[in-house]
Symmetry: C2
Subunit: 412 residues, 2 copies
């Protein structure tokens, strides 16, 4: 596309691309913007190096003028978008990219890859955090997804309220709090469960979390409290009927005087399983597979569409395709969240007008100017912002069932 | 775990870990081993650098003896496993890692992340390739998944018979053939569809693929053949009822004399949609979202379990946990595929014995010896091997519906 547009001369036309979702996968009530910080990092460093250019040349992927264009490529345009952690709805322009056609079209895969992954994970995470109420959730799904996705997934989970991750790289790169537990392999490694527990307590102290379902849970809990005393930090249950087991273990711990020993449950939990455990004496959840795979919706269905571009006479024109079943709305859009008299969000207003509607707040901020990221936020600030933005939504947003979005999108 | 095991002395016990799936997600008939080559690359270069060690020290993640252990860490053990491209079934030991407990347990997340992602994608890809029959499939899902997963997904798709990918990095890094098509944005960029088609034909020649559903398909096909002549390479349809549209466009192309112009279809295709288009005049498929998300099963549910380890007296002992609903089988296992009198695969034999059963072939090969990869294969050889291994399976493996696995696993 870039090669043909360079040849036709259209490559240098000013263009506006918009990132939005036509629908929310899984018939969810809201989506969560995640990945903005990663997009800004990637966009600033997006270049074609000698290796890449040699590959493109040697394999005749593009012609010589295109190679020259790519060799000097860096994005010099502007980007606006929703703040990371913000909620979004069908049609929300979560990012708007302004530049020449050639410089902006090259960013499609980069931007969509990051948002489609991170928003899918974040949306699942936000639902789980709401389902867990005040109880903390630990992200422990790294081994169930691509090794790099795992780091981004841990970041997205923390953004939406997860307490910590078992992914140390996410701690290193993004400052996400890290934690861990022992696996069954650690118990099996030792000649007895008692020996394994003793080794763990010797090294990590009584505050550690002992995994008690390798052989027999009741026996393991007895051994754990005998060895650690009533100050044992936590036990972890990873199999069986977790609600029933939690009740039994709580009673046993209390009978042994270990009133403050917490019960952490893991094992194929998703937001529905978490909600179903609300009445069980559980103190925390560990979530793996369902988090890193977006709990049934592993991609956010976001698209990157040309909505306006310069014409032959230099005027900006709204453009939109007419494909059956996939209509787009042309024009560079602004977005505002409108509130009702109680202060709850009532509508997502997406409009080609610049005028802010009454009782609303603007949703887009400037993120990149002249190719430089100007809208970076600390991950903890984005995390606080998500809590706030989620809190504004009407209570229908809290429903885990499939259904209508929490607020309608009004195109104006 | 490593810290506590170093302290208890159990860290240096010889250990055997096994990678296997308890079940195949999506009730599929077979799984495809993919990622072995990536595991070998990652394993050879898996080290803890100064940055990582500083993070672990500064955040008191592990104690000083553990930091020393990690600083000099490199895997020095042996690895056996299924060839990349091989088919697998529940219980198949697709990889077996032998080393000390500490050196082998550290590889869990690395190995599982790669296999759980790549095997999920490869299994979906293999089903799509079978559904497409002789028609080529292009992988074009990069924008729907994490930016690094996209590269691995393109590799896994090619392994299983996809013809090419739109992911240039997969071409650069893994030598996967690359191709591309124009997007709607390219048509919308120009002042008319005719101008857009002319620009593309000028730059890429009549052999290119023109996207014809931006405005009106019939008009676009007419314009395309007028401009390109009857040697137009291909047209792409991305919306509407693809089967119906393909019939209409084929008739129109033939009426215009463009008998050799191919019809490429794209747009939310999965293996079922591909199979449903078998009778339509379609010459090739482009698949995105469903490929990179594993077509409903984005992770392969593979686990990494300790199956044997040295005891206090230095003897190797089989070990297995007894957790409710998640039983494991202890002991270091061999695996053989047994054939019936017609030459079709009849059973997966997983056994702690070294004796090869009659009418079978061994499934594990040595992949790593003394920490050095010795089992690398060319991606094209793995691709050929997958075709062969799939061809051995009984015809039940060809069924796209949910159901029983194609051959039973016999534990011996």
């Amino acid at each position: 596309m870039v090669q043909a547009a360079l040849r036709s001369g259209a490559a240098s036309r000013r263009a506006v691309f918009e990132v939005f979702a036509r629908r929310l996968p899984g018939a969810r009530r809201y989506g969560v913007v995640a990945g903005t910080g990663r997009v800004l990092d990637a966009l600033e460093s997006f270049r074609f190096g000698d290796d890449e250019l040699a590959f493109l040349r040697d394999n005749r992927v593009v012609d010589a003028p295109t190679l020259d264009f790519l060799a000097s490529y860096r994005f010099r345009g502007r980007v606006y978008g929703y703040r990371e952690g913000e909620c979004y709805f069908p049609g929300s322009p979560i990012m708007t990219v302004e530049g020449t056609f050639a410089e902006a079209v090259l960013l499609e895969t980069l931007i969509l890859s990051i948002f489609n992954h991170d928003c899918a994970i974040a949306t699942a995470a936000s639902r789980m955090v709401h389902a867990a109420g005040a109880r903390p959730i630990i992200e422990m799904g790294s081994r169930r997804t691509h090794e790099s996705s795992a780091v981004a997934a841990a970041r997205a989970a923390y953004l939406c309220g997860f307490a910590a991750t078992s992914n140390l790289m996410a701690g290193h790169v993004y400052g996400v709090p890290t934690t861990g537990t022992a696996a069954h392999a650690f118990t099996l490694l030792h000649d007895s469960e008692e020996e394994a527990f003793r080794a763990q307590l010797d090294s990590l102290g009584a505050g550690t979390t002992l995994l008690v379902d390798t052989y027999d849970v009741e026996q393991a809990v007895r051994t754990a409290v005998e060895l650690a005393g009533p100050d044992l930090g936590a036990i972890r249950l990873d199999s069986g009927d977790l609600g029933e087991a939690a009740h039994e273990v709580r009673a046993q711990l209390d009978a042994l005087g270990a009133h403050h020993t917490r019960i952490l449950v893991t094992g194929d939990l998703d937001e529905h399983a978490i909600a179903a455990l609300a009445a069980a004496p559980v103190d925390g959840y560990g979530v793996g597979t369902s988090l890193v795979t977006g709990s049934g919706s592993p991609t956010a269905a976001l698209v990157y569409k040309l909505v306006a571009r310069e014409d032959a006479s230099g005027d900006m024109q709204a453009v939109a395709k007419k494909s059956v079943g996939k209509p787009s709305r042309g024009g560079r859009k602004n977005a505002f969240r409108r509130f009702d008299e109680t202060g709850a969000a009532a509508a997502e207003v997406v409009t080609v007008s610049d005028v802010q509607p009454p009782d609303s707040r603007p949703l887009q901020v400037m993120l990149v100017d002249g190719g430089e990221a100007v809208g970076r936020e600390k991950l903890d600030d984005s995390r606080a912002w998500h809590r706030e933005a989620f809190g504004e939504l009407p209570s229908t947003a809290h429903q885990l069932s499939r259904g209508d979005v929490a607020i309608p999108t009004v195109f104006d």
